[in-house]
């Protein structure tokens, strides 16, 4: 196959990737879009293989076979609640692949006095790839709740990160400056970048995870694009930069939804504002608790109900129970909608996937800006496992650490039922005055049990 034909096929692949992503703009066309994407990838692999006149099939076939089996296994056995850690894991694989490809290519060209641009691209590819790899593995371990990983913070951590970053840059510079020892410097650079990836992510946890996952997603794309510069391959550059752009946009959306800068997520710590902050005992002086029966009675006379899910719903695996409740209410002529905060869960869109898995039609899943004006006409809001994203202090108290964060304005509804195991604070570590509001009732229980109890009370009543 001549190089013109190869380039033309790569252009076709690029076009298919773009149409594939365009398909994701609506649930109707999304399945087809994803198929276009996978078709494009298949085409890219076939063209690449047949472009080479003679090659050794064995290692390549073995490699693809192992990768396919492992990929299928992971894709079909993963639970929807565990999607964030799977995406993190795949990100990591992509990053490590970039490190290996750039390293291998360096070995091929190092004796032929490679161009400076190729050397720089190799170093960049290795650097981003290595940070993506260890960062993603740490993110995976944290999301999976592996015991040996805690939120590790120690003094001088920023200094260590800076040191690792500068050391990585220094050796990247040496790769370019002293090509005769490029291989040694490359792997030294990779080693420092691996360390940087670990220590960048190890102190980030909980509700900040969506930002980290989105950012690592972006990095994996940028690493692929950098590999494209190494190989002077347009296909890798375009595909990589599409993913890089996608990850950056998601990162931006997540940061806006938390009213935090990227820097404060990566390096900072959410600080309670000190002594003048509200005291939990004072805030929670007038908390009223309720029972499943009482909630059922309220739902019987309601005409509009909004359910607000949070990460707690995923932890309690309550999505199917919530779906049953939604079905029952819908059958009894109650309008049921779901209000979904952009950062609910541990990755962008996490709640939507869980609710879709539980057979809730996507028309019922509403974004924050759409649902917020409707709360005043809502009879009952049921909050399942969400906390900070419904905290009215974000709007009312300029001194609150979460001040300015956009929230779901559930406190404007006639009645708010908060399903929660205790009054413990959310990720931001601040008390939530919603729980003590006049129109709020606490239902202290496990998310799933509570919803099941409400439903059985409804059926008996």
């Amino acid at each position: 196959m001549s190089s013109t034909w190869i380039d033309l096929s790569y252009i076709a692949v690029i076009v298919l990737f773009i149409f594939g992503l365009k398909g994701l703009t609506h649930p109707r066309s999304a399945v087809r879009g994803n198929m276009l994407g996978s078709l494009a990838m298949f085409l890219a692999v076939v063209v690449t293989l047949f472009a080479s006149e003679q090659f050794d099939w064995t290692l390549i076939v073995i490699g693809i076979a192992i990768g396919t089996v492992a990929g299928c296994y992971l894709a079909y056995t993963i639970q929807m609640t565990a999607m964030p850690q799977l995406v993190a894991l795949f990100n990591g694989f992509g990053g490590l692949a970039s490190v290996l490809v750039a390293g291998a290519y360096l070995m091929i060209v190092v004796d032929d006095s490679p161009q400076a641009s190729v050397l720089i691209a190799t170093a960049v590819s290795g650097l981003i790839g290595a940070v993506t790899f260890t960062g993603s593995i740490i993110a995976f371990a944290k999301l999976q709740g592996l015991k040996f990983i805690k939120d590790i913070r120690f003094s001088g951590q920023k200094l260590l990160n800076l040191g690792l970053f500068l050391a990585g840059l220094f050796f990247a510079f040496l790769v370019f400056k002293q090509p005769e020892h490029a291989i040694l410097y490359y792997w030294l650079m990779v080693a420092f970048s691996l360390g940087l990836g670990i220590f960048l992510v190890i102190s980030i946890g909980g509700a900040d995870m969506p930002v980290v996952i989105a950012l690592l997603n972006s990095y994996s794309g940028l690493a692929a694009a950098a590999t494209g510069f190494v190989l002077e391959n347009n296909l890798l550059i375009v595909a990589g930069s599409l993913v890089g752009a996608s990850g950056l946009i998601l990162t931006q959306i997540m940061c806006v939804a938390m009213n935090r800068s990227l820097g404060s997520v990566l390096f900072g710590k959410l600080q309670p504002t000190g002594g003048d902050g509200p005291d939990a005992d004072v805030v929670y002086a007038n908390v009223k608790s309720t029972s499943a029966d009482e909630v059922a009675m309220m739902l019987e006379v309601a005409s509009r109900v909004v359910i607000v899910p949070g990460y707690g719903m995923a932890v309690a695996q309550a999505q199917h129970a919530v779906s049953d409740l939604s079905d029952y209410l819908t059958e009894h002529d109650v309008t049921v909608e779901f209000g979904i905060h952009p950062v609910a869960g541990r990755m962008p869109g996490h709640m939507n996937v869980l609710l879709a898995e539980a057979d809730i039609p996507y028309e019922q899943l509403k974004e924050m800006d759409i649902i917020n004006p409707t709360f005043e006409q809502t009879d009952v809001v049921i909050v399942v496992g969400a906390n900070d994203v419904v905290n009215p202090d974000a709007q009312n108290d300029p001194n609150s650490p979460i001040s300015g964060m956009p929230i779901l304005e559930v406190h404007k509804a006639r009645t708010v039922v908060v399903v929660k195991r205790s009054l413990s604070p959310g990720f931001a570590g601040v008390p939530n005055p919603l729980f003590a509001a006049d129109n709020a009732l606490m239902l202290f229980a496990d998310g799933r049990d509570a919803v099941v109890d409400i439903l059985s009370a409804l059926r008996e009543g």
Binding site: M80, Y105, I237, G244
Partner: protein
């Protein structure tokens, strides 16, 4: 632009030709950067239109696309020499294939769950 041709080009290039070669590769680099910048813009245009509801499938799907490194891995594994290159290439093929196959399949699985009413 496939790797074997680049390699041949690199091997044929003698130091005496480096002036014209440098000029040629300079314009290649500019071309590549142009492609990169334009692709980022296309990415921004498309991705901002994707509703938050589909952000998780977007992440897993775009993740699969970033497995395009697989093409790079194949090219290095095909280059073949020295042996360590093939080992790295093969490892990269395994990792990138997992990324690609797993990413597209799990996205397919997720998207299949998004249903209309009724």
């Amino acid at each position: 632009m496939n790797l074997s041709q680049i390699l041949i080009l690199a091997k044929e290039t003698q130091p005496t030709e480096s002036m014209t070669d440098a000029a040629a590769s300079g314009s290649t680099l500019i071309l590549l950067i142009t492609v990169f910048v334009l692709a980022v813009f296309i990415g921004f245009e498309i991705i901002t239109k994707i509703p938050p509801m589909l952000h998780t499938p977007l992440m897993s799907g775009s993740n699969a696309i970033s497995g395009i490194t697989l093409v790079g891995a194949l090219l290095t594994a095909l280059a073949g020499e020295p042996f360590l290159v093939r080992i790295f290439g093969t490892l990269a093929i395994i990792l990138a294939t997992m990324n690609v196959v797993g990413g597209f399949l799990v996205t397919h699985r997720m998207l299949g769950m998004f249903k209309k009413k009724g």
